[in-house]
Symmetry: C2
Subunit: 232 residues, 2 copies
């Protein structure tokens, strides 16, 4: 019997990437979870990522350290205040202050490196162009361009014509549809964390953009969000 | 008087990137040096990078930590033996064992993140398609694809149509020509380190691929290499 094809799956600890992992597994891949400690203010999501990877029986799960906080530039990695109770944007075209510069490009590049070491040709990422329309690195044209770069960057294409594929299966789904798909695949959303600004006890604030989007998604999906909120 | 345009310059501590930094400075950029601690076996090159940045009056110099060694895959970040006395290749198309998976993609992505924070549109990298023909991420088509991705990935193009440019001024130069250009611009090559496998005292081995290429370059340029070698 052949071994299943390997895939590197980016796992943030949130709802989207937990769903992507379930999708990759459902498609028959042997999954290698990759998470990042990049100076984000809440370590809870890394703990969540570990639990999600374990529950989904990832063949391996690594946490790479990258000091993005050292170069600054985002409310998620600096002392800037996380916006509450409504979308907060900066710049004419409305990129959210929680945008981390070039984050997905860095994450995909590290995933690409690991994929190359593993001999994997498939990388899964939970980007979404519907709910995160302000993030430039969540657009389909960005993912396509990255995939092309990845195929020029690596040994796979040069040595034996294998093609690297970047899978973004949530790209065009609304949050409620993501949740419905995850529930069908048996994702345990109690393990996931979405809040940008949890309480010291680890409770989701219920008010930041990420909490609002999540709560709205569960409501529209007609399902109860299994995590507790500080505002409950 | 206007401030000079800012550029992020990748500085490895080697001969090529020291030359690139001099070229960027000569073109009038205010230079921000970026180096990486990625688990490479010799820390000497990071010390060299710091001296090179200081000598060239970089406006800032940062060292980012990324644990590439944790995912393995290269003689430069693992316990694999560094090849001596001739080019050592693996795979049908001859990619050197010293190739680090997706390294330039990761480095460019971190440079892109810092450029975005700084408001810089220009990134300089010392890749070269002549002497490193076996490295997929040193080819001109790779750099062009990365530049396109970078422009889709970031705020600059979305918000105000600024264009990110990836400069690879050494791309088509032979080592001797790189050295000649650097000498013209006043690069102090005594500060640079190229060896893949220096002695415990910090002397270049003189035998690895990087040393051989460097010695040949100086010889062809008709100039004396100012660094000492263990083999001298």
């Amino acid at each position: 019997m052949n071994e299943p094809a390997k895939a590197v799956v980016l796992i943030s600890g949130g709802l989207d990437s937990a769903t992507v992992l379930a999708i990759a597994k459902n498609r028959g891949y042997g999954c290698y979870g990759l998470s990042f400690d990049y100076g984000q203010r809440h370590r809870l999501e890394l703990e969540a990522a570990g639990r999600i990877a374990e529950k989904a029986e990832c063949l391996d799960h690594r946490v790479m350290h990258i000091d993005l906080a050292g170069i600054g530039g985002s409310a998620l990695t600096s002392d800037a205040e996380v916006p509450k109770d409504g979308p907060h944007r900066q710049g004419e075209q409305g990129i959210p202050v929680t945008y981390v510069p070039a984050r997905n490009t860095i994450f995909l590049s590290c995933a690409l490196a690991w994929a190359e070491v593993l001999g994997a040709c498939d990388i899964f990422i939970g980007v979404n162009a519907v709910d995160y329309s302000g993030y430039p690195d969540c657009r389909p044209e960005y993912i396509r361009a990255y995939e092309k770069t990845a195929n020029l960057a690596t040994r796979a294409s040069v040595e034996d014509g294998r093609k690297i594929r970047i899978h973004a299966p949530l790209m065009r789904l609304r949050k409620a549809d993501i949740i419905r798909q995850g529930l069908t695949l048996g994702v345990d959303y109690a393990l996931t964390r979405s809040c940008y600004d949890p309480t010291p006890e680890g409770l989701a604030c219920g008010a930041c953009d990420a909490c609002r989007l999540r709560k709205k998604g569960f409501a529209e999906a007609g399902s109860k969000d299994p995590i507790p909120y500080a505002s409950d």
